[in-house]
Symmetry: C2
Subunit: 146 residues, 2 copies
DNA sequence: ATTATAAATAGAAATGTTTTCTATTTATAA
DNA sequence: TTATAAATAGAAAACATTTCTATTTATAAT
């Protein structure tokens, strides 16, 4: 799996550094989305000297390269999530346990085309995010509803 | 139109204050999305004493009430936009001129249902935002592309 | 109209996040 | 092994947002 990450960095023309690999590994291992500060705290155990700006920079580079994805959170804080499926950047996020599930939105491309057609504009990107409670959490949260 | 805004505030159980009406008027007049600070600057000409926290609070109340909508911007800054169509909170935003256009996404409800069904979770909300350049700006921006 | 009351606000300050800057270190290609 | 361009630490600045308290204001009841 690490070789995979080496390759990812190479493809992005980024040097293969221990810290970049660590960020990739942390995000790849997590099923949930995490904040820059959380990633930084995780890294401090392995790297005695690690600056928060470094984490921000690495996250930005990886996000730029499409390897990870930003989560839109009600609080404007940034959160990141490792993209398992590079073609589907649309997700369901559980507001309780933070789990992220890829959403197979076949409608996405169609929507984009439709919008581009109607508005005669140029579409750069689109975001589809569904917020809610995952199966487990919704059972815990609202045992009354159905 | 001001009567309309009076009514909106009444329905939200918010007192009708000059500042709340001013925020509503500013957002209703703008075709583009604006930041809290920009709204604050506009208000300072009419209200000599107006605090930025007041603007934030009013925006939050209106957003809570569904009268305005938050824009997801690459920079984590908050932006707000007046909802002309209360039922369609999905939009196309022009990254150049900030114009916001409602997007008639009939797929939205279907997507939400699909996601809820597949994941067996509970959907609270969803966001569909298409980023790009509007017709005018895309003509200015990339005269080379078709 | 007047008054009582709860809501709204100003202003200051705190908080928290993200970015910028410079000197030092490190990965990589020659 | 070395040169060099990229990556990083650490401090500090910049910026956005929230919290707090005293004061003011809108509204409902007199």
């Amino acid at each position: 799996m690490s070789d995979n990450h080496d390759l990812i960095l190479k493809n992005l023309n980024l040097k293969i550094t221990p810290k970049r690999l660590a960020v990739l590994n942390i995000l790849a291992d997590e099923l949930v989305f995490v904040s820059p500060e959380e990633i930084w705290r995780k890294m401090k155990s392995r790297f005695k000297n690690i600056g928060l700006p470094t984490v921000y920079r690495i996250l930005e580079e990886l996000c730029e390269g499409g390897v990870i994805s930003k989560i839109i959170h009600p609080t404007r804080q940034l959160y990141y999530y490792y993209c398992k499926n590079l073609n589907h950047h649309h997700h369901f996020i559980c507001m309780s346990c933070r789990r992220v599930e890829d959403v197979n939105l076949c409608a996405a491309k169609e929507i984009e085309k439709q919008v581009a057609g109607n508005l005669k504009g140029k579409v750069l990107s689109h975001i589809i995010q569904v917020n809610g409670f995952c199966k487990t959490c919704s059972q815990k949260k609202a045992p009354d509803e159905s």
